[in-house]
């Protein structure tokens, strides 16, 4: 018998900027399983909190436990470096590598081991993800020629290909038209469910929060204010 381990148990406190432009973030997050929504208007520290979870911005005090693994624990002086955390990060801008085609973007994080066998394994793994996200026909296209929805699928596939222990999604549907967003929302929900990867989703969209969230944390001026069931908290019980 093992005790129940929550998917996410985190508390991060840090300050970015200095002087009059200093911005303090203090976030407490917990999630049993599924998708945690960080909800609130822009400029309240949601994206910064994602960066802190990924290890991309220094945290002054706190801890980040994902499925029982301590990625960060300042009290014990422990911090796993970003590139060893296995975090799938999809920034709002998607940040596809413009000089690589779609297949190379998706396979970017797969281990680069020399040898024909390894190269073949890489290619087939990449292909699986292209198929799973419905972008196999775009394999040799370059990011500049893609639509917003296609770009988002590529970014998702790239993040998932490394089999992350945690998926971070920053406003993933913001740059997509309504129909595309609805379709992509289903894809995201399906992929997260099938691969059992806990996810943190940043959004200010009520429908999106309810459609995808298992738990919701409301942000206000750098602080997590209250947490609970998305439907109950957003008044759609």
């Amino acid at each position: 018998m093992t005790a129940h381990v929550p998917a996410i148990d985190a508390r991060v406190a840090f300050t970015v900027g200095a002087g009059a432009r200093a911005f303090h973030v203090e976030a407490t997050l917990s999630l049993d399983s599924g998708v945690l929504v960080l909800f609130g208007p822009s400029g309240v520290g949601k994206t910064l909190t994602l960066l802190a979870l990924a290890g991309l911005t220094p945290v002054t005090a706190g801890h980040v436990h994902v499925d029982g693994v301590a990625l960060l624990d300042t009290a014990r002086g422990r911090s796993i470096p970003v590139h060893e955390r296995r975090i799938g990060y999809v920034p709002q801008s998607q940040a596809l590598f413009p000089f690589l085609d779609v297949a190379a973007n998706v396979g970017f994080g797969l281990p680069r081991v020399l040898g024909r066998g390894a190269r073949h394994a890489r290619a087939s793994r990449t292909h699986e993800w292209l198929v799973e996200l419905g972008i196999a026909h775009l394999a040799s296209a370059y990011p500049e020629s893609l639509s917003g929805g296609e770009r988002q699928r590529v970014a998702l596939a790239r993040a998932l290909a490394v089999e992350p222990r945690l998926l971070l999604l920053d406003e993933p549907f913001a740059s997509i038209d309504e129909d595309g967003a609805a379709a992509l929302r289903d894809v995201v929900r399906e992929v997260i469910r099938r691969h059992h990867v806990p996810a943190v989703l940043v959004t200010h969209d009520v429908d999106e929060a309810i459609a995808l969230g298992d738990r919701l944390v409301r942000f206000a001026r750098g602080k997590t204010a209250e947490a609970g069931d998305p439907r109950a908290m957003l008044g759609r019980a």
Partner: protein
Amino acid sequence: MMGDAVFPVLLSLRVAVLALAIVAPAGVALALTQARARYRLRRLVDVLILLPLVLPPSVIGFFLILVFGRRGAIGGLLDSVLGVRLVFTPAAAVIASAVVAFPILVKTVQPAIEAVPVELELVARTLGLSSIAVLLRVTLPAAWRGVLAGLVLGFARAIGEFGATLMFAGNIPGRTNTMPLEIFTAYQTGDDSRAALYVAILTGLSVGVVLVANSSGPRAMSR
């Protein structure tokens, strides 16, 4: 007679290629540092990089003699330890060209790197790349057009160097007479057709450089 005419061409190419080989790694590294690192003396270094671009070539030549001459800090050491004297040698021409190529290289590459969205680097970190690997596999490839433009412009500046070379490397026929110096000599001695030959070569080269630099300039950063 033919070899005599070809020598300045080959010398100039050798000098410019060597100068670029010295300057390119250091220049790209400095451009990366200036674009991405935040340290106390960054603004000062930004200004210092530009100095060779602004200083009169003869002043640069004077400084080079001061440093690399027999009584200079580095020149004196080279002379006493290795018995090497740089002044009035092809190596001096390489150094002079390197110094003037440096700022234009750095200042072309730096904005190209600054234009690379930081998110690309952040994502690459989460995908398992160390900081060094991010620079090599993401930042530089994303800025490759700017890097290419910097190399090409640096080469052009190196091959066209005149003033500092004249002072530091001299104008010794068959030894340090690069094309720009040879144009001056030929014109002075009334050999206009010989001057015109090198003028034509350098003009053609410069036009080519402008074309390449233009098609790989900052506009391409969005690609």
